[in-house]
Homo-oligomer: 198 residues x 2
DNA sequence: GGACGCATGTAATAGGTTACATGATTAC
DNA sequence: GTAATCATGTAACCTATTACATGCGTCC
């Protein structure tokens, strides 16, 4: 009864907004769209089957000409109950893993110019994603409280804040690296044998 | 030669700062400490063995009385080379998964008071962690550029920014929920059969 | 002719968590 | 006595990624 994975709840949460196929679900959960949970179709199809066997979703077989037949899934009452009870269940914190931060931890082994290149690059990646999110904002900012649209807006706010903060952190480190590099260059100039201090 | 996992690089990065045992590594990678990468000892011991078989680390067997014998691992030259070349290698973005944000996506199904409880709770969790990180800050803020300590400071800055942003997002949603709840209460008061508008 | 979208699945592998297993010393 | 620290491992399980597999229609 209670053994639904987080991915399972993610699917139930999507189906709560409307019936759709496994293919549609995979579209909404693919990496570039991303509402803080992703999955590929190879994970989604078996999970849908599991949910169906537990009676949390049901499907209707829809034959199509000129397209493969499809199964349109919808949330059952027991699926909706499981979803809502999960929402207020105790939330344990899960580990954060971030490869860039892990690299920064060993940054002292890198040539500073290489570190600078890496961080500038990453800052840009986050600025780009921020801009992408900002484009969605106007459509969602006036969503009325309590609606599914407002919930999307709330997750978007998280995305905006996350990317902005991340980019700002990169920018801080870029500045530090630039300062450090120019300080080292000054030293090497002073250390040149032909250098005569003023 | 190139098939080292991210966990492997995490271990190499720790060993670059000094020789230590698998137990010590597990201490530094356990959840409450957490420099944006975690692992338990059951993952670390086999990974150390793999790194050793690839010549990236070597160990010295240290017998002890009154304590179990230990293996003190240190980074080899080829391990250091692998680590530094990984640092500037192309970084592909990995999926972000956040159960709270996933729940917020389905928040419209919850009783608003339940949602409020959840979000207040989570805000506190992040404020607590923020405070914990802030306690480390004074010791690290003056670490000289280019040192291992400065790299720790840089990762700490990320932690500070991340937790602050997260807590602020929670706080925003808490305010929205409070506003929404009080608006609904006003309506129900007006709708009371015995209510006489002024 | 080839790539892309629709549509569904399975299999193999990698990565991560939880549990099992042992055993001495020290601190409360 | 009982829990915690030191110290090392293995096994089972769950989750997630990548690759394998099929097939028609449309657009370039």
């Amino acid at each position: 009864m209670i053994d639904v994975s987080i991915l399972g709840y993610a699917l139930l949460g999507l189906l709560a907004r409307g019936a759709m196929t496994g293919y549609d679900l995979a579209q909404r959960m693919r990496v570039p769209v991303r509402y803080f949970w992703q999955a590929g179709h190879s994970q989604i199809y078996p999970e849908l089957a599991r949910l169906e066997s537990r009676g949390m979703v049901s499907f209707e077989h829809v034959p199509q000409r000129s397209r493969p037949d499809k199964k349109v899934y919808s949330l059952t009452e027991s699926g909706r109950d499981a979803l809502t009870s999960w929402l207020s269940s105790p939330l344990q914190d899960s580990p954060t893993r971030d490869e860039l931060v892990l690299r920064v931890y060993s940054m002292w082994l890198m040539a500073p110019t290489e570190a600078l290149r890496l961080m500038r690059d990453q800052e840009q990646r986050h600025r780009d994603r921020l801009q992408e999110y900002e484009a969605y904002e106007p459509r969602l900012r006036n969503a009325p409280f309590g609606t599914p649209e407002f919930a999307v807006y709330a997750t978007l706010r998280r995305g905006l804040g996350y990317e902005r903060e991340y980019a700002d952190w990169c920018a801080w480190l870029v500045r530090e690296l630039e300062r450090g590099i120019s300080a080292m260059e000054t030293i090497s100039v002073n250390e040149r044998p032909d250098h005569v201090p003023a």
